[in-house]
């Protein structure tokens, strides 16, 4: 796994590993996902409405917003686990990967078998791909362990390894680092970023942690309201390889995202916060 150290110095060691800045591959041939006027309503007013969104190869798109604004619903719509009440979702990707809030591991399978499960179409490759993915998340030594013997953070890393082993074109991440400690989450953020660089995949990254979103994402869609809708779209002014080295600029971008979230909240909620 890449050695990663958070630092404030301009000559950040990260630059050696992420020299090529992440860039979105524009053009219709690189569009992996299109949502047009998507609406999904639930009892009690929750859900999403009027969602127009495109995701392109090579970009990490962050979805941010207050709790209950429909971030996870949006992912479930993309993953085809919910059907929209109105609007259209066009999927132009082959393989889909997803890191869930809970890792959803099967307790009767070892870490390796849980990861290999997503490659049953290529049984000859599945174990090798699983071992590689587990090594990438720092669990090479734990591949034969069962979920009950792993910590919460290790289980989540197995979930991330499973998503990487699937070799997806589009990777959905639903608050994937909420159960991880800071240093592990920074390492895994870097791993995801490298995967995007190497394979030009796209990532749809849902999180309520503005710091994570600002550090990882090239573009941030801020959602709010009930049902949730897109309130704002912000572009990260910093290239990937400068984000660790320019904490001041990164903090300003975080503030912009936070402001956009606050603008979407009811006035009373903003005052309380």
């Amino acid at each position: 796994m890449t050695e990663y150290r958070y630092c404030d110095l301009p000559a950040c060691p990260l630059q050696a590993t992420t020299r090529r800045p992440l860039r979105r591959l524009d053009g219709p041939e690189n569009r992996l996902l299109e949502l047009e006027g998507v609406r999904r309503a639930f009892d009690g007013g929750a859900g999403v409405r009027d969602i127009d969104l495109s995701v392109y190869r090579g970009e990490i798109l962050g979805i941010c917003g207050a709790s209950g604004c429909g971030k996870s619903t949006l992912l479930r719509l993309v993953a085809d686990r919910e059907a929209p009440d109105a609007g259209r979702i066009r999927r132009h990707f082959g393989r889909l990967g997803m890191v869930f809030q809970e890792p959803n591991l099967l307790p009767w399978l070892s870490a390796r078998d849980n990861v290999a499960l997503v490659r049953t179409d290529r049984p000859d490759e599945s174990r090798r791909a699983a071992d590689e993915a587990l090594a990438a998340v720092g669990l090479g030594q734990a591949s034969s362990q069962y979920p009950a013997t792993l910590s919460g953070g290790m289980r989540q890393r197995v979930g991330i390894a499973r998503a990487l082993a699937a070799n997806p074109d589009l990777l959905l991440m639903d608050e994937p680092f909420s159960s991880l400690d800071y240093f592990t989450s920074v390492e895994l953020l870097e791993l995801v970023r490298q995967r995007v660089l190497e394979r030009d995949i796209a990532v749809l990254f849902v999180s309520h942690d503005v710091r994570e979103v600002a550090r990882l994402c090239d573009r941030v869609v801020v959602m709010g309201g009930t049902p949730g809708r897109v309130l704002d779209e912000l572009f990260n002014p910093l290239p990937h390889d400068e984000r660790s080295c320019r904490p001041g600029a990164l903090a300003r971008f975080e503030d912009q995202v936070l402001d956009a979230i606050r603008r979407g909240q009811p006035e009373s909620a903003t005052r309380e916060s």
Binding site: A79, R81, M98, N104, W108, L117, T120
Partner: protein
């Protein structure tokens, strides 16, 4: 032997001892033609076990029990899976399960003799009729309890129907099914012996009923004791270890 394991062994033994003492005390008050004491019954059973007939009858009954148990488990699991596949299937199957459950065992026996004639068929059908609903309900209930996150994962990664069945659904069901199978075996065991008594010429059922008809009361009690011992052996030597094994294999905790 560690203290908890010793306790686990001693407490059931205490229960059995209490039962035997109660039986002995009652036998002192009641004529031997109605309730012989434990001593004569045990010695009568020991003598019977030295003859080949009781072993042949035991093999016939165990064969009927295993046949009906296997049919109930395989059929019940498949029907439960089908019922859970759609609301229409569930609504279609539910009244049938209720009918099978509601019909008394004797009704099933009479119908089985009408349909299949005398022999091994009626006991097996009665056993299936008693065990199958338990397995269907357990399968259907177990499937409803499956973690929706696993099904989300299976959907996102496009797992095949076979992979979902063998890696997610059946392992998830195994524990629930193991519990239901224990109950199914127990009811099939009781139902089959009763059905054999009226419809078959071989097996523990005819042996028991024949002993009663000929007024061989010690034989009656000896066969009952043997049936109880076999039931306990099935539970503690087969069902319980299998359940423990499944629990260990599935949970790994």
């Amino acid at each position: 032997m560690s203290s908890p394991r010793l306790h686990a062994l001693l407490i059931p033994l205490g229960g059995v001892t209490g039962l035997v003492i109660g039986w002995w005390l009652l036998a002192q008050k009641v004529p031997g033609s109605i309730l012989p004491g434990p001593g004569p019954v045990v010695s009568h059973l020991a003598a019977a076990l030295s003859e080949i007939e009781i072993w042949k009858d035991t093999a016939v009954t165990l064969g009927n029990v295993m046949a009906s148990f296997l049919i109930a488990v395989v059929g019940g699991t498949l029907l439960g899976l089908w019922a859970s596949s759609s609301t229409v299937a569930e609504r279609l199957l539910h009244p049938m399960v209720v009918v099978i459950e509601a019909a008394p065992t004797i009704a099933w026996l009479v119908l089985a003799i009408l349909w299949l004639g005398l022999g091994a068929g009626p006991p097996i059908l009665v056993g299936v009729s008693m065990a199958l609903p338990l397995i269907v309900i357990a399968t259907s209930h177990g499937l409803r309890q499956i973690d929706s996150g696993w099904m989300d994962m299976a959907h996102v990664y496009g797992l095949s129907t076979w992979t979902r069945l063998t890696r997610i659904l059946l392992p998830s069901l195994a524990l629930t099914l193991a519990g239901a199978a224990s109950g199914a075996l127990s009811v099939a065991w009781r139902g089959i012996i009763m059905a054999e008594a009226f419809s078959a010429s071989h097996g523990l059922g005819p042996s028991l009923w024949g002993s009663y008809l000929y007024g061989e009361i010690r034989d009656v009690y000896a066969v009952i004791l043997w049936i109880i011992l076999l039931g306990l052996a099935l539970e503690y030597l087969l069902v319980h270890p299998a359940r423990q094994l499944i629990r260990r294999r599935l949970r790994h905790d």
